[in-house]
């Protein structure tokens, strides 16, 4: 399967200046897994290098090596040509390398200025923190990136986009030569993304080298100057963006071509399984009513904060609705706890995989069987053989990649963790499965696998609710879509009428007349 693409693997520098940072033949292994095998990566000043690869390709491991969190088993890291060793994260930051992570690591209880200068705050003569100077300099840094944020507020009072700007200001404050952006746009709105692009351009103009990690191809082609592709922990190719097509990049990433992203489906919904009537919550949502049939995929579209997840979490028993009823298969169900929802046949695959979905310290098989322990045990006593059988069956269906089923879940890549979380819920044999942003932050290959799998489930008669903020996903997968806005159902759109314009208009509250 390994492709030898002579043109793509050509890494000879053409017009580019010497790299600021170069990784040379880096290998990193974990118990049972080779995360990186002999990979190389160069970052040039004033350029954006996109690091492309599926989940599990080794992107996060590279970031951790660059930032001094992991030490490579073999290979050299060069900064401005000289080989260096990072014993700790401070060494990397002293070498001018800084990262803005997927889940940006900042301190919610500290102020914006304190966050920017933590670890290197300006001091007074007595050695105490010079708060006044710290604030002035923080203000200047934020001004330089056009961020209108009060330096005195606590970070927890800021939105995710502002937090990103603070992280960037922090990167600038240590005079970074290299800025790593790991999925910086994942949680940003369209407008915020545009602002981020402008910021990246400004950093480029200042001569910073930028490593840009993203799953979104339009972004990569919009912003990157060069690309490097990893697959399964190996280097596949690198070169200037100008000399590569989207197709070629996808082929390098997955080692095959992805022609159809959305599977074709026979749409023949059966009986109504779930009937929700007048569901309301004091603060989050109001008067939500809908029904769901066997074999149907119902899309929930809306802007972030429209209340979609909150409705689903109420149906799953995490929060309690103030009024309203849910009927499952015709009988009224009172759901006060997830355990009751599971018994009634409703399961929820959360958007926040890290804290709500995965129990990283437990082995894979124990994660899969956790909600099904009643079935894999006898009189409350565990039966390991049954657990392994169930875990094997469902992880096999999802094509899980792992060293062993008794490996801790936390050792897997994000995409594979998601597969385990989905396997966990399928193993309960639900009647209704709610998927909250099931493909957010996962690569094209895994995305297609999840979509195809959803289609399979629906074909088997499972009723699927899919919350998604991606219009193509709603259009490609849903039989019907409900658009939510500000905690209410703005519209219900039948499959035949689905179009990007309709979804966006209802989500944003633009009426027909105003058009």
């Amino acid at each position: 399967m390994l492709m030898q693409n002579a043109a793509a693997t050509d890494t000879r520098p053409r017009t580019a200046p010497a790299p600021v940072v170069a990784l040379d033949a880096i290998t990193k292994t974990f118990p049972g897994v080779t995360a990186l095998s002999d990979v190389s990566l160069e970052l040039h000043p004033g350029e954006v290098t996109a690091l492309v690869g599926e989940n599990g390709a080794g992107k996060s491991t590279v970031v951790k090596i660059l930032t001094g969190i992991y030490r490579p088993d073999h290979g050299t890291i060069r900064v401005n040509g000289a080989p260096v060793q990072f014993a700790a994260a401070q060494d990397a930051s002293r070498a001018g390398i800084t990262a803005i992570h997927q889940e940006t690591v900042l301190f919610d209880e500290l102020t914006v200025a304190e966050n920017i200068f933590i670890g290197h705050a300006p001091r007074t003569r007595a050695g105490l923190i010079n708060t006044r100077r710290m604030r002035t300099r923080a203000r200047a840094l934020l001004d330089s990136i056009d961020a209108e944020i009060d330096v005195g507020v606590r970070l927890r009072d800021l939105g995710i986009a502002s937090k990103h700007l603070v992280a960037i200001a922090r990167a600038l404050s240590i005079d970074a030569q290299v800025v790593i952006m790991d999925e910086p746009t994942a949680a940003l709105s369209h407008k915020e993304i545009q602002e981020l692009y402008a910021l990246v351009e400004r950093l480029k103009a200042q001569g910073k080298a930028i490593l840009f990690i993203s799953h979104k191809f339009d972004e990569i082609f919009r912003i990157a100057d060069r690309y490097t592709v990893f697959r399964d922990g190996r280097f596949v190719g690198a070169g200037p963006m100008a000399e590569v097509t989207e197709d070629a990049l996808v082929r390098m990433m997955v080692g095959r071509s992805v022609e159809t992203i959305f599977p074709a489906r026979a749409r023949k919904p059966g009986e109504i399984v779930l009937q929700v009537e007048g569901y309301s919550h004091p603060t989050e949502f109001e008067d939500i009513s809908f029904s769901l049939r066997e074999g149907e995929i119902l899309g929930f579209y809306g802007l972030v904060g429209a209340g979609r997840s909150e409705v689903m979490q109420a149906l799953f028993g995490i929060t309690r609705p103030s009024r309203g009823t849910a009927r499952i298969g015709g009988t009224a169900a009172t759901i006060r706890a997830p355990a009751q929802a599971i018994r009634a046949g409703i399961v929820y695959v959360p958007e926040d995989r890290g804290t709500q979905g995965a129990i990283r310290g437990l082995p894979i098989f124990q994660n899969v069987t956790l909600p099904s322990l009643r079935r894999t045990s006898r009189h409350g006593f565990l039966k390991l053989a049954e657990e392994f059988r169930l875990a094997r069956e469902y992880t096999g269906r999802l094509d899980l990649r792992a060293a062993a089923l008794d490996q801790a879940l936390g050792n897997l890549s994000g995409g594979n963790q998601q597969k385990v979380v989905i396997a966990k819920w399928l193993a309960t044999r639900p009647r209704v499965i709610i998927l909250d942003e099931p493909t957010k932050g996962i690569d094209i290959g895994s995305k297609a696998a999840v979509h195809e799998f959803m289609a399979e489930l629906a074909a088997e008669g499972l009723a699927v609710i899919m919350i998604s903020s991606e219009i193509p996903e709603i259009l490609g997968m849903a039989d019907r879509a409900i658009v939510m806005r500000e905690g209410r159902i703005a519209a219900e759109v039948a499959g035949g009428d689905l179009s990007p314009e309709i979804l966006v208009r209802h989500a944003a509250g633009i009426t027909q007349d105003a058009q």
């Binding site: 489906r265 804290t355 990283r360 310290g361 094997r392 992880t395 195809e452």
Partner: protein
């Protein structure tokens, strides 16, 4: 289905169940390291004192740890779930005081046992309700109830003591089942097995690990987190009641200062046994071995006439040493 959909790569790929054999895993475990420490201390003791290898002396030595160990089993589950109970010694004081008052009123051994157990359960329920019902942090709650429970005992007793327990009551703390095997040691062994089964072989035990690793994830997986935690507080209270019965029976008297400072020794046993103080991992066999290690050290030092205060220095050093050992080993190998 579309023909050009993504092919499932490599249908033959199968993920094996286990990476290492259970035996290989065991050999590298904390429990084995701890067992080696226990054996080393045993050998050192038998060389240090000629009285050590005497069956009756060894039997006496078990009283150093049996009562604390019984609480440690329940505490291990509680700590694995991410909570802690620092009021266990105070529960002993309160339960012992209640039993003493009942004995004054002429209640027989069976009634005293029932009172000890119910008192332990009630205290555990009080802790559990505050933690799970009101969502308060257990370390704060149980530091509070630690003062509260023992305070009640001081109010009732002042500088007095209850004596005069009925003759049959002495059996729990002073009786022998067979030859040198004491009633307490049998209770210790039985509870060790019961708690090992509960933690390692049941759905409940699995829930305890899941909660300790990620309480939110456990809740989203359909585990009744609050209920499990409440039961763990009940169990810890109950085992404190059992310890109170044994200790009161052994001493034959109750003072409000009974079992003073035991909570830290119990927590030390649990941590020494390899339970992560932050929750999520640990085992009952580890705790069982740890109780022997601590019992052997205190007994050995006692035979050498080492005073109690020096003994506590030893226990402290032992705890730090055993916990630092794997770290130091890993660091040495990396150099």
């Amino acid at each position: 289905m579309s023909t050009q959909s993504v092919p499932r790569p490599d249908e033959a790929r199968r993920v094996p169940d286990r990476l290492r054999s259970p035996l290989g895993r065991l050999l590298k475990s904390w429990e084995v390291l701890l067992l080696l420490v226990a054996v080393a201390i045993f050998v050192a003791n038998s060389f240090a004192s000629p009285y050590f290898l005497d069956a009756w002396n060894l039997s006496d030595a078990t009283f150093n740890f049996t009562e604390k160990a019984m609480i440690a089993f329940a505490m291990a589950l509680l700590i694995i779930s991410g909570e802690i109970d620092l009021s266990v010694a105070a529960i002993i004081a309160l339960a012992s005081t209640a039993m003493g008052a009942a004995a004054q009123a002429g209640i027989g051994p069976a009634g005293l046992v029932a009172i000890g157990l119910v008192c332990g359960l009630a205290c555990g329920a009080f802790n559990g309700a505050l933690v799970t019902g009101l969502g308060l942090p257990s370390i704060v709650v149980t530091i509070g109830t630690m003062s509260l429970f023992r305070g009640i005992s001081y109010i009732v007793l002042g500088d007095q003591a209850y004596r005069g327990y009925p003759p049959g009551f002495a059996w729990f703390g002073q009786g022998y089942v067979w030859w040198v095997i004491s009633v307490e040691f049998v209770l210790f062994a039985v509870f060790a097995v019961l708690f090992a089964i509960l933690l390692h072989k049941t759905n409940f035990g699995r829930a305890v690990y899941a909660i300790g690793n990620n309480p939110v994830g456990a809740l989203f997986s359909g585990i009744r987190v609050a209920r499990v935690k409440f039961i763990l507080f009940l169990l810890t209270g109950l085992m404190s009641g059992v310890a109170a019965i044994c200790l009161t029976s052994r001493l034959g008297s109750t003072r409000p200062s009974i079992a003073f400072g035991w909570e830290l020794e119990v927590v030390t046993m649990v941590v020494l046994g390899g339970v992560n103080i932050l929750g999520g991992s640990g085992s009952i066999p580890g705790v069982v071995i740890a109780t022997f290690v601590m019992g052997l050290v205190t007994f050995g030092l006692g035979l050498l006439n080492v005073p109690g205060i020096v003994m506590s220095i030893f226990i402290g050093l032992l705890l730090i040493g055993v916990i630092a050992l794997p770290r130091l080993w890993a660091m040495a190998r990396r150099e």
